[in-house]
């Protein structure tokens, strides 16, 4: 498996990855999770925030995209402060220029079946924290079902709610921020057994070693 950091304007190879990513997102978020507001007739989940400010962290296995996440800066238009502003009652921990919004986290559904822990998901957790540290962010915001509080805390992340959880489509949902730090990266690496860096300096991707195979 490889981790790719993709931004617009994308070169031809990255363009293919992005297209694959948009189609998978539609499958996961619209067709499986029922997020109807995202439904599009062309079967691609692309919204206003898939623009040149966005960074896509994509995991591939061979030619296939098997998981992904999107990071958008908080001092540019973002999902948290528009669509989900109703979930935010507390102040951000620091200036918006120091934070990023983590959205569209997914693992291709068939990769989760029958496995105790999806290495794709572990790779995304590690990559997102590694990327945030590298870019100099001090916190990452997210909106998700409140179960993320358990998953994030279990890998040693410090997570602070930005507001009261609310029931959205019957699921308790909240906005929160994760502290970005060397400790947070160490902890998630130890918890997932992924010891080495996933994002390389220049090529923006690297092979993931055997530590990923459960």
């Amino acid at each position: 498996m490889r981790v790719h950091i993709v931004r617009e304007p994308a070169d031809r190879q990255s363009r293919d990855l992005l297209e694959h990513n948009y189609r998978l997102r539609h499958k996961v978020f619209v067709e499986r999770q029922g997020w109807e507001a995202l439904r599009r007739p062309d079967g691609r989940d692309v919204d206003d925030f898939d623009n040149e400010d966005a960074t896509h962290i994509l995991i591939t296995d061979g030619k296939d995209v098997v998981g992904g996440s999107r990071i958008t800066p908080l001092d540019r238009p973002n999902l948290l402060q528009t669509v989900f502003h109703g979930l935010v009652q507390e102040d951000l921990p620091a200036d918006p220029s120091l934070g990023a919004d983590w959205t569209r986290f997914y693992v291709r559904p068939d990769r989760r079946e029958g496995r105790r822990r999806a290495p794709e998901s572990a790779a995304l957790f590690c990559s997102v924290m590694e990327y945030a540290l590298r870019e100099g962010f001090s916190y990452i915001t997210f909106v998700s079902s409140i179960y993320m509080l358990e998953h994030g805390t279990a890998v040693g992340w410090r997570i602070t709610p930005l507001g009261r959880p609310q029931s959205i489509d019957g699921k308790p949902t909240l906005a929160a921020w994760i502290e970005v730090s060397e400790d947070a990266l160490d902890n998630v690496r130890r918890a997932t057994g992924m010891r080495q860096a996933l994002i390389s300096g220049q090529g923006h991707f690297s092979a993931i070693g055997n530590s990923l195979i459960p």
Binding site: Q89, E90, R112, R115, R116, R117, A118, S121, I146, Y147, L149, E150, H151, G152, T153, A154, V155, G156, R158, I159, T160, P161, G163, R164, P165, P172, L174, N187, R190, A191, G193, S211, I213, P214
Partner: protein
Amino acid sequence: MNADLMSTIENVQRESSASGILDLLYAAIDQYGFQKFIISGLPDRGMDVRPFVLLSGWDDEWYERYTSLGYVHLDPVARHCFGTTLPFDWSDAPYDQEADLPARRVMEEARDFGMDQGLCVPIHMEGGMQGVVSLVGKTEHLDDKSRLELHMLALYVHGRLRFINANDPNGAPRRAITRREAEILKWVASGKTANEIAGITGLTARTINQHCENAQKRLGTNNRLHTVVEAIRHKLITL
């Protein structure tokens, strides 16, 4: 947000020992009228629950009885965790009071130990692993806001305990595996897949994988190969 809850959440995340979490949680749930609790993973059918317990705030006598007699597999509250993602009152855990006598026995015995009401928070971990935070106390006074707060608190505490357990230098690696785990690791060491071992032992592949995962946890190893290597190195299995 509730300021008390926010500070409890912060303290839970700073805490580095299970005993510290115990004190924090007793104090926090007291605010909501609860007295005792248990935090545990839920094992597959027939397996001992004790290696899965993260933290017990139960009376010793009941804990001993419940865990040694395999009550986790009879208890309708524990069973209902597999069927729902939302917190529920114990009294809402379905079971057939006429036909399911073992379930009724567990519920009645719990009542004799002064544990007749409670709130159960199922914890769904990645990959289908199942856990539970169960609070002992009356629930009828709880409003939706308190229920959501307890739900959040339970998720934080469960996650933090998993983190503490995985990093406890005294707890892990524990150099002990069960006889069953040793048997299965021997088959793994001879190159058999989970399906093949299932065929040999008559267990399901899922149970085989669970045994391997448990051995991995006990030994503090990172993957199946590492587990086998450590088991051989420490002479827990001989080939």
